[in-house]
Subunit: 282 residues, 2 copies
Amino acid sequence: MRFEIRVAPNSGFCFGVRRAIEIAEKTLASTKEAFSIGPLIHNPQVIDRLRQAGLQPVDSPEAVDPSGTVIIRSHGVRPDVLSRLNERAAKSIDATCPLVKKAQQSAELLALEGYTVVILGERNHPEVEGLVGHAPGAIVVNADEEVPVLPHGSKIGLVAQTTQYPADFRRVIERITRNDFDEARIFNTICHATVERQKAAVELATDVDIMFVLGGRNSANTNHLAKICKATGVDTYHIETAGELDEKWLDGKRRVGVTAGASTPEWIIEQFVSRLEKVSGG
Amino acid sequence: MRFEIRVAPNSGFCFGVRRAIEIAEKTLASTKEAFSIGPLIHNPQVIDRLRQAGLQPVDSPEAVDPSGTVIIRSHGVRPDVLSRLNERAAKSIDATCPLVKKAQQSAELLALEGYTVVILGERNHPEVEGLVGHAPGAIVVNADEEVPVLPHGSKIGLVAQTTQYPADFRRVIERITRNDFDEARIFNTICHATVERQKAAVELATDVDIMFVLGGRNSANTNHLAKICKATGVDTYHIETAGELDEKWLDGKRRVGVTAGASTPEWIIEQFVSRLEKVSGG
């Protein structure tokens, strides 16, 4: 079997994920152990390594050892989780992605200034839960849902989960402004790096015979990547590690594309490409 | 010739025009004469009547008698015109339509808070000139124009001339949000009564054989009415008075529709309908 292997530009770690991991590693270097509320990032393999280094994901602030250190995950948390952590007197270190932070601040400002806040995102994603916490009463919609019709004279504020598609964001804007409204204030909180990664992945997908998307199954942006690659019509496989590769998938393929989510580390991409090279006899 | 005559609901004077005329009449009742910068409203027949009652339209603040009274037209004026009037010490009475006032305040707020202000409207219309005066440096676009691409990180503010079409407004919003932007703040300054008048006119236009749109040739909202009635495919005539009717137009017509702009007085509509009734032998 002989095929060409191409890795999409902008694959793998984004700035916010790299920063969160660096913060965790630096913290663990001095404290030896620390907690995070939920996984620090959405990649099980990275989380395993961090667990070995002493980072323990827990479900709630109450599960944190009062004398311990807690690292706020890259997706951010609700303000009430922060205050519960502060009450417990555990030392907390903020590894929230700066772009998520900005989205939280935008949601908070809109709520404080009396806007009805609409959030485009996945209802149960921790980032969105954090955003809603910053704008209590916010309405969460996904790209397929209608926006509720608000009373005449409404002031509507809109933010998006940072990993949403720009096209979906525009669709929600269209729905909001098709209804009656007095003022619409829209913060474009979509991460530019995510958009670039999506573009590069789609471009590569249209030019290969099979596409691999590497990353956590719990990673929203990796799932998005797989969805849009599949939508180009190419055979697409979303896997977490090289170990999941079934060589039969490669039968008759001449051009193989690879991309990876924002929380997928370089070593996972490298191991997968090495495995592909072996199969290709390279 | 026998035909049915139907007048569209919501034809004629809107709240803002009625208010401006009442202010003028009340003022003239005590002062006997007064000035306006440009015509008070966009209807030549009403302006003629007001001129006979003592209201003199002038081109600039400097043409106002310093001891006289000036009435600010329904379309509003630029702030510098206001201050020039104050400097001349002429007494000024504000007949700006409250909805135009609100649009001016929105444009001013956006400019003060550092937004790049975009105005959907007709560049040379007095209302738009007033809006630009409240947001110096604002970019005026019409429905057929692209919105300039702004630098990365831009905060864009949008308002519309009160008589624009909602569909055009949404088109501009779509163009703005298709480009890169950080924040878009949109004030829906379109007059609801204008929208209702347009809807009623289009509905009637699709149900008659000929449509008459009554109102000043210089009236933006009357021109809009004529345009959207014509767009339904029905024969459409935009005239100012009954005197302009050519009876040949009615040959073979069985259902005749009438609508009128926001600055068209009831007596013009009545005179026209009477004339139609005579032609119809009614």
